[in-house]
Point group: C2
DNA sequence: TCGCGCATGTAAGTTGTTACATGATTTA
DNA sequence: TAAATCATGTAACAACTTACATGCGCGA
């Protein structure tokens, strides 16, 4: 449902191909919205039908042709309408936390390995977000308002990954004592 | 997919009806796994077919009959297998954060109202989790291991809601300056 | 030569949401 | 008297995932 608006938000900043949109969601907006490339292409086809986006085919000699999408007035209208409607909190569905409720069924070595594996991922993601911050948002006080809002979204990503790192250290020390 | 294991985890602790399982997911496990009652009933029917659960009909005079479900050996086996397999991180899809990427389309009063609305919810959820903590996990050091793991899951819920509260204060002060 | 990045999609299946449906008792 | 709680589901639809499909260029 909101994938529509995720794509329109990106296209509202600048035109892009389906491939680039998929990358954007995975990288810069990884802590905000996620979609596979299949989902992205399907949604773009729908947005074309709804006349929320237009596209231009750009032939390339060495690589496959690119379809560069752009937002239309109608697309911007839909986006503005959605933005001003109240939205709900996403529902949490976290398999790792769920596993904490099947305690006595764990092989403790597996539990430790799993948390350590995720820990590496959280550290890498945190580093990535911190790099984005220092590149684009190093002086937040003096940024234009709409960049400040984007910075607020990024701050969530930073905070969430930091707090998972702390949590994993805590969890690992609990496990260590049990061994 | 993991809804199966969410239900089996609950039933592994104690037998329950579909209604009670739905409540459990919403309340005690709200920061772990969410499912509507329709999903729960559908999944329970599937688990019955797979012989992962059995049920017993308990007639009631004043209220509708209860179907009390219990986990089977096969269900426990499936759960133990799943628990020891590595799992992936859930993909983030947060409409509120997404809205931060459509900055200039906001009516600033709507943005402020939306964040304030969510803030009330985060505060209430935090209070609820803190109440659970003080009731069941007030002395974590001396708890049996499988309760310590459940406490770790609860700590995530506490931390996440605390950090959203801080975030919303930060966001509201950014908005205040812009007005 | 094997995999990765670029670039696009289709098809089938699973999971999750929304709407509909019933009906008694308790609480405001 | 209206709404909430208890208690169960079905049906239709929307969203998301997984597997399949193609093909070139580049670097290890």
């Amino acid at each position: 449902m909101a994938l529509k608006y995720a794509l329109l938000s990106c296209l509202n900043e600048s035109r892009a191909t389906g491939y680039e949109l998929t990358q954007l969601l995975r990288e810069r907006m990884g802590n905000v919205w996620n979609a596979s490339h299949q989902q992205t292409y399907r949604e773009l086809a729908k947005l074309r039908d709804e006349k929320c986006v237009t596209f231009e085919e750009v032939p390339q000699s060495d690589k496959p042709d690119r379809k560069v999408y752009a937002i239309t007035e109608r697309g911007r209208g839909d986006l503005a309408e959605w933005v001003n409607e109240p939205s709900e909190r996403p529902r949490v569905r976290d398999p790792l936390l769920l596993k904490m409720f099947a305690g006595e069924l764990w092989d403790i070595a597996n539990l430790k390995a799993e948390i350590e594996g995720h820990r590496i991922h959280w550290q890498a993601t945190l580093d990535r977000y911190l790099a984005i911050e220092s590149r684009y948002f190093s002086d937040p006080e003096n940024l234009p308002f709409h960049y400040r809002l984007q910075h607020l979204a990024l701050l969530r990503g930073i905070d969430v990954n930091r707090s998972w790192l702390e949590w994993s250290d805590n969890a690992l020390s609990v496990i260590e004592k049990e061994k």
